[in-house]
């Protein structure tokens, strides 16, 4: 098959379509994946107005939401403020939470909407950006070069490159690859058609690669 002996990636090409379709719900780390237990009892108590239960939920989820905001928003101060505002909002809206659905998914949905609102208010999303995305050239990149670029980059470099992206590109990547939101959820949060989400994500990846290459060039220039 020519997978370079990397067994961990073999599921990329599926033995049959059944496996392809079921993979969506079986991906590791999926919010509603089996094995991830949500503190249902604390959620129920918090919904009933128990302040201690709410405190438990806060302590459980605040670090994850803070990191979400940290990745999505430009500065640490923004992320701190946004985290507090999100939890205040969550507390108000807790009664509206549908208990038959994943609490974590709901949490991230609220967080994503809040962060996107912040970015939007700051006019980070510009009409021009939409135009750029519309006219994205769907080129076939050199797969070997791409693989090489990815192999050489560390997590820290990726984070730095991510911080240099524009609001929507960063937001889309964070929603998809940090909080594992579905295309439907991303479309809903960003206010775009579902069919457009893939384009937004691909465009964001291109921007990220450019930023990573820019980092590398900068590093090389710094050394020499």
């Amino acid at each position: 098959m020519g997978w370079g002996g990397n067994a961990g990636l073999q599921y990329v090409i599926f033995a049959d379509l059944c496996a392809y379709q079921t993979m969506e719900t079986q991906r590791p780390g999926r919010m509603s994946a089996p094995g991830i237990t949500e503190p249902a009892e604390a959620i129920a108590r918090a919904r009933a107005g128990d302040a201690n239960a709410w405190g438990e939920l806060y302590r459980e989820y605040a670090p994850a939401i803070f990191r979400f905001c940290r990745r999505a928003l430009p500065t640490r101060e923004d992320a701190e403020d946004a985290t507090m505002e999100i939890f205040m909002k969550l507390r108000e809206k807790l009664g509206q939470y549908d208990t038959t659905r994943s609490f974590t998914a709901w949490l991230y949905k609220v967080a994503a909407n809040h962060c996107w609102d912040i970015l939007r208010r700051r006019k980070i999303r510009q009409d021009k950006e939409t135009e750029d995305v519309e006219s994205i050239p769907l080129e076939h990149p050199d797969p070997n070069q791409l693989e090489k670029l990815i192999e050489q980059r560390t997590s820290e470099e990726v984070r730095k490159a991510l911080a240099r992206l524009r609001g929507r590109a960063r937001m889309a990547l964070v929603m998809r690859y940090y909080s594992d939101m579905s295309y439907d959820e991303i479309a809903d949060a960003l206010g775009v058609r579902r069919a457009f989400v893939g384009v937004v994500l691909l465009r964001a990846r291109h921007e990220l690669r450019q930023a990573l290459e820019g980092n590398a060039a900068l590093a090389a220039g710094g050394v020499s």
């Binding site: 370079g4 961990g8 990636l9 990329v12 090409i13 599926f14 379509l17 392809y20 379709q21 993979m23 991906r27 590791p28 780390g29 999926r30 919010m31 949500e38 107005g49 128990d50 201690n52 709410w54 405190g55 806060y58 302590r59 459980e60 989820y61 605040a62 670090p63 994850a64 803070f66 990191r67 500065t75 701190e80 403020d81 985290t83 507090m84 205040m88 974590t104 769907l138 080129e139 076939h140 990149p141 797969p143 070997n144 791409l146 693989e147 990815i150 980059r153 997590s155 990726v158 984070r159 990547l173 690859y177 940090y178 909080s179 594992d180 295309y183 893939g198 384009v199 994500l201 990846r205």
Partner: protein, 562 residues
Amino acid sequence: MSETPGEKMKHLDEMTCLLYAERQLDRARALEVSAHAQECEACQTLLRALERESRLLTRAMLEEDEPLPSRLAVFQERARRALHWIWGLAFGLAATGAYALYADYIQPWQRELEQAGFGGSNLLNLLIFQGAFWKGWQSMITVLEAAALMTLGAFAVMFLRRRMRRGGALAVVLAGLCALLAMPAPAAATEFRKADTVDIGKDEKIKGDVYIMAQRARVDGTVDGDVIVFSPNVDINGHVMGDVIAFATSVRINGQVDGNVRGANNNITITGNVARNVTDFCQTFTLDANGKVGGSLTSFSESFSQDGSVGRDMLLFFAHGTFAGKVAGGIRAKGDSLVITSSAVIDGPIRFEGNKQADVSPSAKLASPVEFHRIEKHMTYRSSSYYVWQVIWAAAFILFGLVLFALMPKFSEDAVKSAEHYGASAGLGVLVLFGVPIAAIIACITVVGLFLGIATLFVWYGSLYFAQVIVGAVIGQWLMGRTSELWPLIGRMAVGLILVRLCTTIPHVGGWVKFVAILWGIGAISLAIYRRFQPTIAPVAPAAPYTPPMPPNTTVGGTMPA
């Protein structure tokens, strides 16, 4: 990769590869892609690269590169408290704003109107608009204004912080500080004098306000500002161009005061000239035959004696009152007995509410006969106004409770819990209800303790009302069940309070109900305060930043090997 352009055309585009890798293609398209990828090495490589890119992204984002900020770690516990400070500050600002509005706009307008001949001399006007109560506290208000300004500044910074980066916010703060420094300094400074005996000599002239704390205070010289004095014995023989605010056992004003005189004293004697208003809480009030008050006079005293002249109205609460001087305005008085002697000249109407008819000398020169109202010993339960007032009182109590619960939710909750320890509450209630006022009065005897004593009395008096609110909350919980949340507790408090107020209207029993409620509630408050000062063994919530091992979110294979 060495491929011809023709071959390249057959490859899958990146968008399709990405959608395939992300399981977003429909069945038919996915089948095509799958079949192609089985055969095409370049597309396999691209798919693999995209998948690796996804994993790299996920891993990079999930890594805990920075801990949860401490401000967020304690946010849950502090958020509400912070909000309550905001409540308190908002009230403070509103009060200061109201004062500023009065001092800057209403009063100058009123002065203009008075000069134009529209000056009234009714007693409502005296109490509300003449400023007998409100005017003259400038020195203290200045501090409040500064606090309000700083609070506004803090709010502005908090508000701007969201919109600007740190540097910008800092610039605003610095600019504000510079602006404050650039503002013209007040014309007069405030002087503090503290000694056993403070004597401002005859030739001495103080420019600005003076605060005096002494066993004996004497002002023979001139003060171009206010005199605020805490002393057992106060003599004002000189000239005070501002107000005199005196907390003292004995006050004698023999000189000239251009502003107002107000205070809380054992006895006050005015033989000099007060150009504006006098407001005093005292045991014995004497306006000597030579004494003169240019404005209005308000007094809460046991014994009131007026031989000198008063330029405007008088509002008086006393046990025994004597009018022997001239009053240019009207008089409204409430007390046990009133004597109007032959030398009295009263130009306005006199309304006296007392236990017996005023003893009026036939030689007294009165503009109109004394309008006498006998004090009603008992409320008329048949009167509809009585019930209207009960409703108003109940609403006022609920509002008072709401403000207190919102300002101090944790303490209120503790007090409600303490109220369920009936024995301890009742015992402590007796001790505090009777002990605290006695202790406060004793404290008033000393100079230092005077302010503390008066402040304690005020707090004690306020807690009599708060006690009923607490009892209301307990009764509300009995009826509607327990809760640890603020707003449900406030709802229960409102229901319980209405019941308590209803019970207090029952003839003969109502008074006792009120007494028991106060006793019980004040005991609960005291118990809550006592417990608050006890060292706690187990903290309620962790203060240190807490980071769980892994958030229950989401990875796209983040934990799998890349």
